[in-house]
């Protein structure tokens, strides 16, 4: 390699000059008014050891200064950010991206071969002018699940103060470093290597992400075939019903969408079960609307809320003003039973069945009380069975429940 720019050796390596860095949104920080320092041939690229143009900037208040670490040729070859070496499109480590897209790279790792490869690559990039990344293809399912939707600015925080960790930081309040205990040094995430991360081998972060992808929960469709509703959670005010309709119409005919603005969720009711199944499969852990990752679950049937059994067990107070059931006929008549009036066969209204013996006083004798039982006013709210929507019997499923 040429050791100085002026040295005129045969087939000399090109030193890189650039006007603008290739960076991800997280590395740039949240401040739109940012200044950068550019230094041509400031450092050698960590991967290819060639001098390149180094950019340095502060990504927002209380963040540490960041600088570009790899040259633009290396960054373009892998379609990664020059600083954090994460994929520009998904913000994921190279290893995860390559595993998901089944990409193979053949960058030589030895000196001369790598230089030759870089030289050819640079010429090719100069012709096409773009990055050689995985652009233009359909988005990968695994990458969509793992990718971040918003920039992760915590990554730009100041480094941990090593003096504070040893208990001897004398700068106190003025210390620009972070006074926090580091994570366990035995944690594999604590030792990362920039070359390994670039080549996508033995990357602890990638292993963690791939493990998370493998452990991701899968939604099993409920056994009740009548459920065709999909729950969508994590909505905010910006997401309107039309946005949901735009996303879910592709899976089949939507019967209706019920937006619950207060709790930030919606219920998308499909006309057919298969459509709902397709929608859950297609949108679970992947649905991102207006930068928000939405939660997808199976809805419960609206006619069968979970809290129903307890309500059923509670005895209902009798309606005043109704005549009680007729008193039992005298035993001599019962013995004949002309009209099939055995006590167990006497049809009774359901309300009285529920409360028999508990609320009503025992019926006195054959010359029984014919007067209706009227409770003293103001003791409790009168319950009419006809007001109870679950007793209406308009819906078949509701009728079955009773």
């Amino acid at each position: 390699m040429a050791t100085s720019l002026g040295a005129n050796t045969y087939n000399r390596m090109n030193w890189e000059t650039s006007d603008f860095p290739i960076l991800c949104q997280t590395c740039l920080g949240d401040n739109p008014y940012m200044r950068m320092i550019r230094e041509t041939y400031g450092k050698e690229c960590t991967i290819c050891n060639r001098p390149f143009t180094v950019f340095r900037w502060c990504p927002g208040a209380k963040m540490r200064y960041k600088k570009t670490e790899v040259c633009q040729t290396c960054a373009k070859t892998k379609n990664v950010c020059q600083t954090c070496l994460l994929d520009l499109e998904y913000g994921l480590p190279v290893q995860v991206r390559d595993a998901a897209l089944k990409m193979q790279d053949n960058i030589p790792k030895s000196d001369v071969n790598r230089e030759y490869y870089q030289q050819n690559n640079e010429a090719a990039l100069a012709k096409t002018g773009g990055s050689s990344g995985a652009g233009g293809k359909a988005p990968n399912e695994l990458l969509m699940k793992l990718a971040r939707t918003t920039p992760y600015y915590k990554r730009n925080r100041a480094h941990i103060c090593s003096f504070w960790v040893k208990g001897e930081c004398k700068r106190g309040e003025e210390c620009p470093y972070r006074h926090e205990m580091p994570t366990d040094p035995n944690d594999p995430l604590a030792n990362q290597n920039i070359k390994d991360r670039y080549y996508g081998v033995d990357d602890p972060v990638a292993e963690k992400l791939l493990k998370r992808a493998a452990d991701m929960p899968k939604l099993t469709p409920p056994t009740d075939k009548s459920i065709t509703t999909v729950y969508v959670g994590g909505l905010d005010a910006n997401i309107k019903e039309q946005d949901l309709r735009d996303v879910f119409y592709q899976y089949g005919e939507i019967r209706n969408i019920n937006m619950v603005t207060k709790s930030g969720c919606a219920f998308v009711n499909f006309s057919q079960r298969e459509c709902a199944e397709k929608a859950v499969q297609g949108a679970f852990n992947k649905l991102i609307i207006k930068g928000r990752r939405l939660k997808i679950l199976w809805g419960r049937g609206q006619g069968a809320p979970a809290s129903k059994p307890q309500e059923e067990a509670r005895p209902l107070p009798p309606v005043p003003g109704l005549p009680p059931s007729l008193p039992q006929p005298p035993p001599e008549l019962l013995a004949h039973d002309f009209f099939g009036l055995r006590s167990d066969k006497v049809p009774q209204p359901p309300m009285l069945r529920a409360v028999a013996g508990s609320v009503l006083p025992p019926l006195p004798g054959p010359a029984g009380l014919r007067m209706p039982l009227i409770p003293p006013p103001g003791t409790h709210v009168i319950h009419y069975p006809s007001q109870d929507p679950q007793r209406l019997g308009t819906n078949k499923s509701r009728g079955n429940d009773n």
Binding site: R35, I37, A61, K62, E173, E174
Partner: protein
């Protein structure tokens, strides 16, 4: 700062009044010059030098311009002998620079973006409550 007295002339009237303070500041300066740098940051090493330099100039500036306690001859003598920093005092006469800590902090050509030092930013304009010590002289804010 004079290492040796250059002029053969005897100091003017009133020199014996300010001499003990000047001597004391000189002794303090010598003490900090010989201080070991161990345990200090690279930028921290020069901070006490700048501080005492500022103090000495400030002492004479106050005596002549504020309290009017010394004669013009004595003040000129101190400037000529470089006991007080004429350039620094010249800045103190300007509006907004009354409390300037050192000349490096207003040297905009030495910074990346052609700006003054952080200690020149008024406290009210800084959005953080955190104390900032400037790298040049350890100043914590010298603008009004």
């Amino acid at each position: 700062m004079p290492k040796v007295r250059r002029s053969r002339k005897p100091p003017p009237e009133g020199w014996e009044l300010i001499e003990p303070t000047i001597e004391e500041l000189d002794a303090k300066m010598r003490e900090h010059e010989t201080e070991p740098h161990e345990g200090k940051r690279k930028v921290e090493a020069l901070w006490p030098i700048f501080k005492i330099h500022h103090q000495k100039s400030r002492y004479l500036y106050d005596l002549y311009y504020k309290r009017k306690a010394i004669s013009k001859e004595l003040y000129d003598y101190c400037i000529k002998e470089k006991i007080a920093d004429a350039n620094l005092i010249a800045k103190w006469k300007k509006d907004g620079y009354e409390r300037l800590c050192c000349l490096r902090c207003i040297q905009v050509r030495d910074t990346n973006f052609g700006t003054n030092c952080i200690c020149r930013v008024p406290r009210s304009k800084l959005d953080q409550i955190k104390i900032v010590e400037c790298v040049h002289c350890g100043c914590r804010g010298c603008s009004g």
